[in-house]
């Protein structure tokens, strides 16, 4: 129960490191046993590992910079508290007896919290105080345990950084004080601080502390999951602490998943009045996800890609079930693994150079596989006859072509993402977010099918065509920035065109300054356009504006605007093809939704159903295979019993059931000698009873009082 959280998917338990190691080995062997040659298997395995390593490292970096802001403010707070203690201004003196407390709002995605807390306590240790202890509810059932935890935690941490005599002294402290009280801690703290203040300015002591020697480092206690704590225990602990706050600069950090009002629910006024609470809001998990996707999905850096379906599955798991980014990453990892495991051609799924290199060493089998790729087939059909023949027969030629194709694929990616961003930059500001508020949604749309054929896109373009100048220019500027950062050739000159358009806009301004009279009629239509209005309205106005446009000649601004929109549209049409259009896209794109669902969003019920109704699915025993849903009599007893019970009504007569079972089972016998046929002997009887009790255990039937020797059926239809 304690590990459960909204984000608890199938991955809530971290595998211990050595376990993971074992796993790796087995993985490798798997890759090798796989159909392709061992060396390619190893290569793929290595690629997979490298990619994952890369992802992991980058996520950590990401995590840190995402949490930096809140952590910094938190550190600031803690420093202020510890400094206010010694030389307080009036306000802080008024609150001298209160324990500074930071209430950290983390959102309901509990599995992600551990990372946050670990990084937080590290930061605290580095920059504020060596004395940090973090508690979890499940270890603090009673006040005794909590105190014990705190003492041990603190003394151990210090023991770790200090020499031995300290160690066993502290140890005996804990041992000796059968009743570990805060007084012990106080004495210990005083000794520590005296020691560390008069010896060399501390190994652990940061500048902030050392530069004002009279200031003592606070003792920070972190409550990881406040909700789960027993309120009584918490209250008592706080009460005790408040008696020592003058001798021992304490500070609390509450990790809150739901809402700050939990503090009030847990603590009565008499206790909460001892705290000086300050709120800290951590960034929402949706933003977090956005950044993660931005970093790992919407970039050509990572050769490995997800098709629209897989992506949407992962995203929907995130939004429907758990807000856990961690689990999202796990999903990504799974997809990665699966891809490299199942797709032999994934050797080509890596950086351009490596891919080209690998392409040269493809063996015949791989090439055959390539020839079988649907996208490749499509490509072949596009070529002339003899070229087709060459491609299908000549391996070396194929290799070269492959390299070419890989190049194009990479180029495609290079151009795809910047264009995507531009489009998003332009359309995200439009009313109703026709193409999605998040770039993620736009991306999915583009993956799905040619975006320019979707009417949302068209109407968006129309809206663009009537956007007011200032807005347009702003978003164009953003596009320009996006493009500027890209190195590919096409993007470069796209960028140039854009710049050029922009400066023409400026010239327009200048012109306007010259001739203000004209400016009126020019800018009037967009001006009187209501900023926020619903789509229907807009289209109506749009129509009548078309009228007007037909009627009177276009102003230079409008011409320019149309031109710009055309340009953007052209950009989209040339670069935002869905990946299916690209030959060899299977190499990079992972597409099997079923596996992902199956692994990430397991449904125990259905799997039980499957196992019972057609056992061969799991047993992989073809002899059990049957057509038209009937069951072979060689199937396990429970399957047979289950099958039979499906045909019964609400109440099942055990004896009839047994009879039926007996007949089916004896049908399995090779020679149905007449007398024994369908007889119920002890063995059958026992097997039947076991099967029934197993079914009962699985919750399909239960014994009932209504009728003697009957059982009640509990399930209806297939759920």
């Amino acid at each position: 129960m304690s590990t459960s959280s909204v984000s608890k998917g199938c991955f809530v338990f971290k595998p211990s490191p050595k376990k993971r190691k074992k796993q790796d080995v087995s993985q490798e062997s798997y890759f090798i046993h796989d159909c392709a040659g061992p060396e390619s298997g190893q290569r793929r395995f290595k690629l997979c590992q490298d990619l994952w390593k890369q992802i992991e490292t980058e996520t950590e970096v990401l995590q840190d910079e995402l949490h930096r802001k809140i952590l910094d403010s938190l550190l600031e707070f803690s420093r202020k508290c510890s400094s206010a203690r010694c030389h307080g201004d009036w306000a802080s003196q008024m609150r001298a007896s209160e324990i500074p407390t930071a209430a950290l709002m983390l959102g309901v995605n509990v599995p992600d919290h551990d990372l946050t807390f670990s990084s937080l306590s590290d930061l605290l240790r580095q920059s504020v105080t060596p004395y940090v202890v973090s508690l979890q509810a499940k270890e603090c059932g009673a006040l005794k345990h909590l105190l014990k935890r705190v003492l041990e935690g603190l003394m151990e941490t210090v023991v770790a950084v200090d020499d031995e005599d300290e160690a066993d002294q502290a140890a005996c402290h804990v041992q000796k004080s059968v009743h570990c009280s805060l007084t012990t801690l106080c004495d210990w703290y005083i000794i520590k601080t005296k020691k560390s203040s008069n010896d060399t300015p501390g190994k652990k002591r940061p500048s902030t502390v050392t530069d004002e020697p009279e200031q003592l480092p606070p003792v920070v206690v972190v409550f990881k999951d406040l909700e789960a704590f027993n309120p009584k225990v918490l209250q008592d602990f706080i009460l005790i602490c408040s008696r020592y706050v003058h001798r021992l600069p304490l500070m609390f950090i509450f990790g809150i998943a739901t809402s700050p009002s939990t503090i009030q629910h847990m603590l009565p006024h008499s206790v909460s009045s001892l705290l000086c609470i300050q709120l800290f809001q951590s960034l929402s998990c949706t933003e977090h996800l956005a950044t993660v996707i931005d970093k790992f999905i919407l970039t050509h850096q990572f050769p490995f890609k997800l098709t629209e379906k897989v992506l949407s599955v992962l995203v929907s798991i995130f939004f429907f079930h758990d807000f856990s980014v961690r689990n999202f990453m796990k999903g990504l990892q799974l997809a990665l693994l699966e891809h490299f495991y199942t797709q032999p051609l994934s050797v080509l799924c890596c950086r351009k150079k490596a891919a080209l290199h690998h392409a040269t060493q493809l063996d015949h089998g791989d090439l055959e596989r390539i020839r079988l790729l649907p996208s490749f087939k499509r490509y072949v059909e596009g070529q002339e006859a003899e070229e087709q023949v060459n491609l299908m027969t000549d391996d070396s030629h194929l290799k070269e072509v492959c390299q070419k194709l890989i190049k194009t694929l990479h180029k495609y990616h290079k151009n795809y993402y910047p264009t995507l961003r531009c489009l998003h930059a332009l359309t995200s500001t439009l009313p109703r977010h026709l193409l999605g508020k998040q770039i993620r949604e736009l991306h999915e749309a583009c993956l799905r099918k040619n975006v320019w054929e979707q009417e949302n896109y068209q109407s968006a373009m129309k809206l663009l065509k009537m956007q007011a100048k200032d807005e347009l220019v702003v978003s164009l500027r953003r596009c320009a920035e996006i493009l500027r950062s890209v190195k590919s050739k096409t993007m470069k000159n796209a960028c140039e065109q854009l710049e050029e358009l922009l400066c023409r806009f400026q010239q327009l301004d200048a012109a306007v300054d010259v001739a203000p009279s004209e400016d009126e009629c020019v800018l009037s239509p967009p001006k009187n356009l209501p900023k926020k209005t619903d789509l229907f309205q807009l289209q109506k106005t749009l129509l009548e504006m078309n009228e007007s446009r037909r009627s009177k000649k276009l102003s230079p601004f409008e011409i320019l605007r149309n031109e710009t929109v055309e340009f953007v549209d052209g950009l989209v049409r040339s670069h935002l093809w869905p990946p299916e259009s690209q030959p060899l896209h299977e190499v990079c794109y992972y597409s099997s939704v079923a596996t992902v669902k199956h692994h990430l969003n397991a449904s125990p019920r259905t799997s039980i159903q499957v196992a019972l109704s057609n056992p061969d699915h799991y047993l992989e025993n073809d002899s059990l295979k049957t057509e038209d849903g009937s069951l072979s009599s060689a199937a396990p007893d429970i399957c047979i019993a289950y099958k039979l019970h499906l045909e019964c009504g609400r109440l099942i007569n055990l004896y009839d059931w047994l009879e039926a079972y007996a007949t089916v089972v004896s049908a399995a016998k090779v020679d149905p000698d007449q007398d024994a046929f369908g007889k119920v002997d002890e063995v059958k009887h026992a097997r039947f009873i076991r099967a029934v009790s197993e079914l009962e255990f699985l919750g399909f039937v239960k014994s009932t009082k209504q009728k003697t020797d009957h059982v009640a059926r509990l399930t209806w239809g297939g759920c």
């Binding site: 009002s261 009030q264 629910h265 009565p268 006024h269 008499s270």
Partner: protein, 433 residues
């Protein structure tokens, strides 16, 4: 600490006061009583008789002294022992073991304590005994005098006797009584308890071994006797260091007692309880006001003291509540009136309160719900409301509660309440909720 001071006829007033304080405080704090308890002469004689038999003639005995708390059981015993110990042979003969049910919470501890009090630790040393009985027997054996003919009489005093009855199958009691029955060693077992039904607590085998002697201290004291007792408790003995002061003091005490208002007060106390201890509290409070400046106890002191004693705690506490909490209390009172003291929960109380607010036009009391909850919490903390024991899982708002204050207390508190808004007063008085 002996009271025997030099017989100097006169001493400075300050010194006298100090002496008075010392003597009387000792009297009130640890029941060092003035000579002879009044009104319990019979019991006194009886007990002394019993103990002398044990101490002098080596007869075994067991007796229970039963009486309400503060009725002077311990003092009776103490005074009897005092008298006995003045006789030389008793003094050198009798051994005493004082056990207290509060301290010796089980028989193992009790036995250790006995050993200690008989100074036999070194004798027992590291011996291990099969049973409790053996152990006790050994102890008594060890007490034999040099000529090994008869062993010294031991007096066992069991304070809070009823608590011993709760020990695991009453081993200690059984053995003590058993010894007192058999003639292996002269022991006297004196139990002090405030439970009249104490015999019911004893197991059959234990009860059968107990000589059903009981000394009851159920004081059927008349008011005049009570007054005498008060005077006795206040007045100084003639061996006081400064005789003249003593006379003055006693005289003033006499006047005090005869004062009408004082008698009324004492009457009230008398009606509440006749025992020593409550009286001592009262007198202690008076005594504490005796200073150099005011070397006698005035009637006013007694009145104030009694006011302190008889003050109602809950009303005092109600006085300190904030308006919010007071409103809640009143709402609860109304609920109690309507539903004949059925338990209620915060939601209901809040509704009741809201009803009141709706009737009021001005909205100076509409506090945000969290504030109300806090107020309710506080009341619960003060145990002015008590949760009806139900499932602890229920949220605070829905926990069923009972009000622990009665309407008279509420009303009294409202009268005293500083700056109590009139509309709230009216609301409290209004019959309909």
């Amino acid at each position: 600490m002996s009271k025997r001071k030099g017989k100097i006829s006169h001493q400075p007033l300050g010194e006298c006061i100090t002496q008075v304080q010392r003597i009387l405080r000792e009297r009130y704090c640890q029941q060092k009583l003035a000579k002879g308890l009044d009104g319990v002469g019979a019991q006194h004689k009886h007990l002394e008789e019993l103990l002398r038999r044990t101490a002098v003639y080596g007869e075994s005995n067991s007796v229970l002294i039963v009486g309400p708390r503060g009725a002077g059981k311990s003092s009776l015993l103490r005074s009897v022992l005092q008298e006995l110990l003045e006789e030389k042979e008793v003094q050198e003969n009798l051994l005493q073991v004082h056990l207290n049910g509060l301290l010796q919470t089980d028989d193992r501890i009790a036995l250790k304590e006995i050993t200690r009090q008989l100074h036999l630790e070194n004798v027992v040393g590291e011996k291990v005994f099969g049973s409790f009985a053996e152990n006790l027997a050994f102890l008594l054996e060890a007490l034999k005098k040099g000529d090994r003919t008869s062993s010294r009489p031991v007096l066992f005093v069991l304070d809070e006797f009823d608590l011993f009855a709760h020990h695991k199958n009453q081993t200690l009691l059984y053995n003590l009584f058993d010894v007192s029955q058999s003639t292996q060693a002269p022991v006297a077992v004196v139990g002090l308890t405030c439970r009249l039904d104490v015999l019911e607590l004893l197991e059959k085998r234990v009860k059968s071994r107990f000589s059903h002697r009981q000394i009851h201290l159920l004081s059927g004291l008349t008011f005049s006797q009570y007054l005498d007792r008060v005077r006795a408790q206040l007045s100084l003995s003639d061996d006081f260091c400064d005789s003249r002061f003593a006379q003055e003091w006693n005289a003033s005490v006499k006047n005090l007692i005869e004062d009408k208002s004082v008698q009324d007060v004492l009457q009230r106390h008398f009606d509440c309880s006749k025992d020593f201890r409550s009286l001592h509290v009262l007198l202690m409070l008076c005594l504490s006001r005796v200073t150099l400046a005011k070397p006698t106890i005035k009637a006013s002191d007694l009145l104030d003291a009694s006011r302190l004693c008889l003050a109602d705690c809950k009303t005092n506490m109600l006085h300190g509540l904030s308006i919010v909490e007071l409103c809640l209390i009143i709402a609860m009172k109304h609920l109690n009136d309507v539903y004949e003291g059925e338990p209620f929960n915060l939601q209901m109380v809040h509704n009741e309160f809201k009803k009141f607010l709706q009737r009021k036009s001005n909205s100076m009391y509409n506090f945000s719900p969290p504030v109300i909850v806090k107020g309710f919490e506080h009341l619960q903390q003060l145990e002015l409301v008590r949760p009806v024991d139900g499932s602890p899982k229920t949220q605070r708002e829905y926990q069923m509660m009972r009000l622990m204050v009665d309407r008279s207390q509420i009303m009294e508190a409202l009268q005293k309440y500083p700056q109590c808004p009139t509309d709230i007063k009216q609301w409290a008085l209004s019959a309909f909720a």
